[in-house]
């Protein structure tokens, strides 16, 4: 013990080894193997070894509200539309819109982007990927500015585009097409989440996922504190698609959104 | 057992123990065997004072504090100093010429060959007139502007001389009142011109002629007593013209 005391920092290690050695000396080989397995199982516990590997997603259906982070989201319907408010897709493409009633159930306002993180673009329904949006910007630049090889690759080859990252939804008021930048507590907004979709797609349903949002009070890895972190898929469902306008739902002001547009 | 040595003589307490009667030197501490090197006997040479023993650290302390303050004040020169008028390079009276020189980082928007270089902007400026006016002239763009109720308007006339293609963007012509209020700090003037040091017909943000005149209009409080005109291009350098 005198020796251990003088060597300070590894006193705990030496002590532990001593204890382990003392205990193990009296054990049979089988016992040692068993004890080793138990110790290993205990050791991996803090790293989430027993959490469910497959996050089980609850079903998502139109008309049923779900809680996600600070929001209560009720998907009303899904529709395709040629254009909506200021959004005009490329010729041949159309917009896919998810109309939802969204209520901030918290005490403080939440940004639109938080809602966008909770409802990502549906997979495998020919949503035009992010790269194509950059290319849209390049189109407005003078000729020769855009990379000519990028153009056909991104828009034509839908198979490859599925691997590209899909853009977040553009979130507009379904009533009037205006941009809602902040969701205030207690207010229910009827919003349209819109993505540009390849014109060839003509499915009857889309797979829609709602991502769980976890409140990070103090982040372990970054200096950011107090934000909603998108986590695992919490709800999943196939929502039927109406081939109508996303704004024209049960309310009278649907057409007014179109009225302002040429 | 008897105690032969009195505690007072040996410097030991009453608990000196059994060893004391065996004739060990009285300087030994209790529990010490003969021949043991005693632990550091308290330095007898008048016990150096705390201040003496830590003299080196005491000298280094102010240095360390200065270094720490400097290291944590980077925001001053990184963020505060470059933005805003902080360095008065010349101070003259209205009617006299002042020379404003200061460096800025050119993005090459008007003069591509200067792109992404640090450029020294030098300009000679004179405030030729400053007076209150009753109405504002029609702006070169947009609707006419009337002086809002509760405000007065000043017309400041300035004469500039600089090499052609001197960058004039970010020009601020500021009227400073005797209470320190700064009127017209914005780079956009009351008529909507966002290039206050250029003539209204200027095409870009760089000067076209070696010498030119501009007038700029500034709204102020009716009770304000204007004592200075300041000219700057975002800072930190500026020149001051004292108003008589």
């Amino acid at each position: 013990m005198k020796h251990a005391r003088n060597d300070g920092p590894d006193i705990a290690f030496r002590l532990a080894r001593r204890v382990v050695a003392t205990v193990a000396d009296d054990m049979s080989t089988m016992q040692r193997v068993g004890a080793g397995i138990v110790a290993a199982l205990v050791a991996i516990t803090p790293f989430g070894a027993w959490s469910e590997v497959e996050a089980h997603a609850d079903p998502l259906a139109a008309g049923t509200p779900v809680e996600v982070g600070p929001f209560e989201v009720k998907v009303v319907r899904v529709a395709t539309v040629d254009e909506f408010a200021y959004l005009v897709p490329k010729p041949g493409n159309h917009l896919l819109g998810v109309v939802a009633e969204v209520t901030n159930t918290g005490e403080v306002p939440e940004y639109r982007a938080t809602l966008g993180q909770a409802i990502p673009a549906p997979q495998n329904v020919a949503i035009v990927p992010k790269a194509a949006l950059d290319e849209l910007g390049a189109d407005t630049a003078p000729d020769g500015g855009a990379d000519p090889s990028a153009d056909p690759a991104a828009s034509a080859d839908l198979g490859a585009s599925e691997e590209a990252e899909l853009p977040p939804a553009t979130i507009l008021s379904a009533k009037d097409g205006t941009t809602i930048s902040v969701f205030n507590p207690g207010v229910t907004h009827r919003v349209a989440l819109l993505w540009e979709q390849g014109g060839k797609w003509s499915g009857r349903t889309i797979p829609l996922e709602v991502i769980e949002l976890e409140w990070i009070e103090e982040s372990v890895v970054s200096l950011d504190n107090g934000y909603w972190l998108p986590n695992e898929v919490a709800y999943h469902g196939r929502i039927p698609v109406d081939a109508e306008r996303p704004g024209a739902g049960s309310n009278q002001s649907g057409p007014s959104a179109e009225a302002g547009q040429p | 057992m008897t105690t032969l040595v009195t505690p007072a003589a040996s410097g030991m307490g009453p608990g000196a123990g059994p060893g004391t009667d065996q004739g060990w030197p009285p300087s030994l501490r209790p529990g010490m065997l003969p021949g043991t090197v005693p632990p550091d006997v308290p330095v007898p040479e008048g016990r150096k004072g705390w201040w003496r023993r830590n003299a080196v650290w005491l000298v280094l302390l102010p240095v360390a504090m200065a270094v720490a303050a400097g290291a944590s004040s980077f925001r001053v020169w990184a963020f505060w100093w470059p933005v805003g008028l902080h360095h008065e390079v010349e101070r003259v009276a209205v009617g006299e010429q002042a020379h404003l020189a200061g460096e800025y980082y050119d993005l090459g928007l008007d003069v591509p060959e200067r792109a992404n270089t640090t450029v020294l902007r030098e300009i000679d400026a004179t405030v030729t007139s400053i007076q209150q006016v009753d109405r504002l002239p029609p702006p070169s763009w947009g609707d006419p502007v009337t002086i809002p109720d509760g405000s007065v308007a000043y017309e400041v006339g300035m004469h500039f001389a600089a090499e052609p293609k001197t960058d004039l963007s970010g020009c601020q012509i500021v009227l400073v009142a005797d209470d320190g209020t700064r009127y017209g700090e914005s780079t956009t003037d009351v008529l909507g011109s966002s290039n206050r040091c250029s003539t209204p017909d200027a095409a870009g943000f760089v000067s076209a002629r070696p010498e030119w005149d501009v007038t700029s209009f500034v709204l102020a409080d009716p009770a304000a007593k204007i004592t200075q005109v300041r000219l700057g291009f975002g800072g930190p350098e500026y020149v001051t013209f004292d108003v008589p």
């Binding site: 097409g177 809602i180 507590p185 207010v187 | -």
Partner: protein, 206 residues
């Protein structure tokens, strides 16, 4: 004291542990000087001129609207819009007034929207009064007893931008019964674009 290696003694251990415990106790139980972080709140009512040292502020009018009819677009409220007309007169230099927030009686916070040409911030210089219209989409139960909080500092991050700075808190003057009437009314308001305010900041065109 021996030269060379030092021994871990009970006394030394007690000193270190005691010091840490004492420090933690101080931090935990001694009240922090909250005055260091608190903003200087200037309370007032609609129509009153409030002195925030860096500006004079007047909330000239408070309205409630179902629909905002702007120049470029019209916006329907999710709940109802509280439309706050304010007039800023900067007193030091060019100032951007970033803070605008409605707080209800329960302490819930509401931020302004930029729909239909409403302002979410204002920028003004000394020498004139500048008018801005803020629009807050709020639920019915937020109307009663709501206040508006206007300042040059940002209200994000728990009002971090407003620490040790003047902040105006103006009671919107909506009482219980009025709240019900205001909720049921179907008003359309056209938010004015920001511009020079009328002569007396206290007056109101409505």
């Amino acid at each position: 004291m021996r030269h060379g290696r030092r021994r871990i003694t009970w006394k030394g251990t007690a000193l270190v542990v005691g010091g840490v415990v004492a420090g933690c106790t101080l931090v935990t139980y001694v009240p922090q000087d909250t005055g260091v972080d608190e903003p200087f709140i200037v309370e007032g009512a609609v129509g009153e001129v409030l002195d925030l040292t860096y500006a004079e502020l007047t909330v000239t009018e408070v309205r409630v609207a179902d629909t905002l009819a702007g120049v470029a677009e019209a916006a329907a409220a999710g709940g109802t819009f509280i439309v706050v007309d304010a007039s800023w007169r900067a007193t030091q230099g060019e100032t951007t007034f970033v803070g605008a927030e409605v707080t209800d009686a329960r302490g819930r916070r509401f931020w302004p929207t930029d729909q239909a040409g409403c302002s979410i911030l204002a920028k003004a210089q000394p020498g004139y009064a500048w008018r801005a219209t803020y629009c807050f989409d709020v639920p019915r139960d937020a109307l009663d007893g709501a206040t508006v909080r206007l300042a040059r500092g940002d209200q994000g991050e728990e009002h971090a931008g407003q620490r040790r700075d003047a902040v105006a808190v103006v009671d919107l003057g909506i009482s219980g019964r009025e709240a019900d009437e205001l909720w049921q009314a179907t008003e359309t308001v056209s938010p004015q674009e920001p511009g020079y305010a009328l002569a007396s900041a206290g007056g109101s065109e409505g």
